[in-house]
């Protein structure tokens, strides 16, 4: 191989090595979560519709009591495999504030597919007040907003344990292996048999956590499947183009070597 080409490849390799620590770096008091294998991993990974639906159920019945998810709309649930009438039914189970109407008053109405998921608290202060001073974060982007998001959230949901000897917890604090600093205000949210599954999947904390992580990953990155599909087409096109370019380049340069 030509030395310049080799050097350029070396620079790219170095670039990859240098940018790597950024992806895995962590601050003090952090334990790296174990790497799970996910259905959405890899170049061809997709979302598992069954897991998304189960995960949505967990969110609806557990997480949504405290956590908002205001960037996701009911209409987006189509991606989970629900049809239009199912989505309408799901949405109409919620009430939202709309208005002002012609008389200038705000009013309540059942939610429509075009509405965003309603938040459990009217504003951040109310969320703080109801949760001992720490507002539960919005979950729309949670797996993108944490290092190694899906594994971290899975670790967090399954990482509650007794504090090690010598560590004391204040009222309302809970020891979590994976939370930075370990002292977490959120009580263990999941317990076995808490949510009923209709498809016979095991009703364990671990399965719940796996499912809700997949749902949250979809919520943060709803176009992942389309992105990977478009990527594959783009790469095939570019590789063929590169081959043609190389052949033409060789031909043109043939008389100069």
């Amino acid at each position: 191989m030509n030395r310049a080409v080799f050097s350029i490849l070396a620079i790219f390799a170095l670039f990859a090595v240098v940018t790597m620590p950024q992806a895995v770096q962590a601050s003090e008091g952090t334990v790296h979560p174990a790497q799970q294998s996910w259905h959405f991993d890899g170049f061809a990974g997709t979302y598992d519709r069954g897991a998304l639906q189960r995960g949505y159920k967990i969110y609806r019945e557990v997480c949504s009591a405290c956590h908002s998810m205001k960037r996701v709309h009911f209409r987006n649930l189509e991606a989970l495999g629900y049809d239009e009438s199912q989505i309408k039914t799901i949405a109409s189970g919620y009430n939202v504030i709309d208005g002002p109407n012609d008389e200038g008053d705000m009013y309540e109405r059942p939610a429509r597919p075009s509405d965003a998921f309603p938040s459990p608290f009217p504003n951040k202060n109310a969320a703080k007040f109801a949760n001992g001073g720490a507002a539960p974060p919005d979950l729309s982007l949670i797996t993108k907003a944490r290092h190694d998001g899906p594994n971290y959230v899975f670790g967090l949901l399954t990482g509650y344990e007794e504090p090690p000897h010598g560590e004391t917890l204040n009222d309302g604090q809970h020891w979590n292996k994976y939370f930075p600093g370990h002292k977490l205000a959120m009580a263990p949210p999941l317990s076995d048999d808490q949510v009923a599954y209709e498809d016979g999947m095991p009703q364990t904390v671990e399965q719940y956590a796996r499912d809700v992580v997949q749902f949250l990953t979809w919520a943060a990155d709803p176009y992942m499947e389309e992105r990977k599909r478009t990527g594959l087409k783009t790469l095939i096109f570019l590789l063929v183009l590169a081959g043609v370019m190389y052949a033409v380049k060789r031909r043109i340069w043939a008389d100069q070597h």
Partner: protein
């Protein structure tokens, strides 16, 4: 351009236009028959690649601007709106986000190539300086652009970097107020940053035009670093280099596409997916990867510079000018060299020790007596690192351009490259991190020392004393002689 010879065109429409506005003559002269050294390697692709990236950034950026809202209450939401509800919005944003990184990849390789093959040397000094200006403008544009999504790292990165300017004596605070449009990074900051982020790319475009113009006056350098002596040493730009550039560009775009489609967030920081909150400081504020080496230089200066230290530095600098920079040292100064060296080192050490151990109570070494605070020192070191690039053509005056024929230059430059990459690693780590038993801040200082030493000491020294290998007689002979 324009009033000279015109080419003949068979097509009557083209001919008609060209008689009135010789665009086609210009294109043919500058990109058609333009004589280009025949021996480019693939490092010479990165100018064209950088040009492509600039256009890709402007096009994707304009589309994003159609959907973006520059308001602290709405900016984050509008970006998420682009990601979720704008048709193919996710694609446009990922093109732009990763495009910034890949623009820097291309430009860093382009700069590396220019330094390795001595492309900055006479007669291409101005071409090089325009390039450094483009690099500076790119840094400003990228930094400002990173603020726009108004995530946590946007807000806090902006706070840290704009605060640097407050270290400038007398006018610093006013500059910061002007940058902020108030007394903290807030809505006025965001709106002016958006305006500037839209403006600067076009300024870059204008400077790129001058850069390319200057290139077409001097012609390209080449891996041998010797000027073409006649037509046997060159090839017409088209089709030879249009084709080679296109092929290289497609390979580059393949890598770029891999990131866009399969790892679109891997080069960014997860904290920027958390909406900006002025009340919560992220535990570890880091800039984007392409700023990390300079960020490490900024943080390397952790000590105040008092009067002793600066006197010592001034003494060492005098010796440097007298015995390394000057073509013919005045021998009259020679007997004083050793005493000055000893005195300078003593003063610098005294000043440094006085600063590090204030309990010793050495007069004039207290922090408030410092002439250059650690903060200002860091800012000067960081900007100085780029200013050194501007004056590079006058620091390295060796007549041989290409590192191929200068082994000493080659190895000290490759070491600089390694040091620069390592600085990037240091910049990515928390300030109190350690590399085994050695604190990273010390390694950062050593690497910064080598960076400055390379430009201020090694290059002038090698310019005078490196003999270099024999240059080939011509490009033609060198290339076709070995049957390449």
């Amino acid at each position: 351009m324009g009033s000279g010879e015109r080419a003949e065109f068979k097509n009557p429409v083209i001919g008609w236009i060209d008689e009135r506005l010789p665009l086609f003559t210009l294109m043919q002269k500058e990109y058609g028959v333009f004589p280009t050294p025949r021996n480019f390697n693939y490092f010479w692709n990165f100018g064209a690649i950088a040009m492509f990236m600039l256009v890709a950034m402007i096009v994707s950026g304009i589309v994003l601007a159609m959907h973006y809202t520059a308001d602290t209450e709405l900016a984050f939401d509008s970006v998420e709106r682009i990601m979720r509800d704008v048709n193919s919005g996710w694609l446009i944003r990922y093109i732009h986000m990763n495009g910034a990184s890949f623009f820097f990849v291309a430009v860093y390789i382009h700069i590396f190539r220019g330094m390795y093959y001595g492309s900055y040397k006479k007669p291409r000094e101005l071409l090089w300086i325009l390039g450094v200006l483009i690099f500076l403008l790119m840094m400003a544009t990228a930094f400002i652009g990173y603020v726009l999504p108004w995530g946590q790292m946007s807000l806090w990165g902006a706070t840290v970097i704009t605060n640097l300017f407050s270290a400038i004596p007398w006018v610093g605070d006013s500059i910061v107020t002007l940058l902020w449009g108030g007394f903290s990074v807030d809505n006025p900051t965001l709106t002016r940053f958006f305006a500037l982020h839209y403006l600067l790319p076009f300024v870059i475009f204008a400077v790129v035009f001058l850069h390319v113009w200057a290139l077409h006056i001097t012609g390209s350098n080449n891996p041998l670093g010797i000027e073409p002596k006649g037509p046997q040493d060159t090839l017409p730009f088209h089709p030879y280099y249009t084709m080679k550039d296109s092929f290289g560009l497609v390979l580059f775009v393949i890598l770029y596409a891999l990131f866009i489609f399969y790892a679109p967030d891997s080069l960014g920081h997860p904290d920027n997916y958390i909406p900006a909150d002025p009340l919560v400081t992220p535990p570890h504020i880091v800039p984007e990867w392409y700023f990390l080496p300079f960020y490490a230089i900024l943080r390397a200066i952790t000590f105040n510079m008092n009067i002793y230290f600066l006197a010592g530095i001034a003494g060492l600098f005098t010796l440097l000018v007298e015995f390394v920079w000057r073509e013919k040292p005045k021998m009259i100064a020679a007997p004083y060299a050793l005493p000055i060296l000893v005195a300078s080192l003593f003063l610098a050490a005294l000043g440094f020790i006085g600063d590090q151990y204030p309990t010793l109570g050495i007069p004039f070494t207290a922090a408030e007596d410092a002439l250059v605070s650690a903060k200002l020192g860091g800012v000067l070191a960081m900007f100085g690192a780029i200013v050194l690039l501007l004056v590079l053509p006058w620091l390295d005056t060796h007549p041989i351009r290409s590192a191929r024929f200068r082994p000493l230059f080659k190895w000290s430059f490759l070491l600089l490259f390694v040091v620069f990459v390592f600085l990037g690693y240091i910049g990515s780590q928390p300030a109190d991190a350690a590399f085994g038993p050695v604190p990273l801040s010390l390694l950062g200082l050593l690497c910064t020392g080598y960076y400055y030493g390379f430009f201020l000491v090694i290059l002038p020294f090698l310019s005078r004393f490196e003999k270099g290998r024999n240059l080939p007689k011509s490009i033609h002979e060198a290339v076709l002689g070995k049957g390449a």
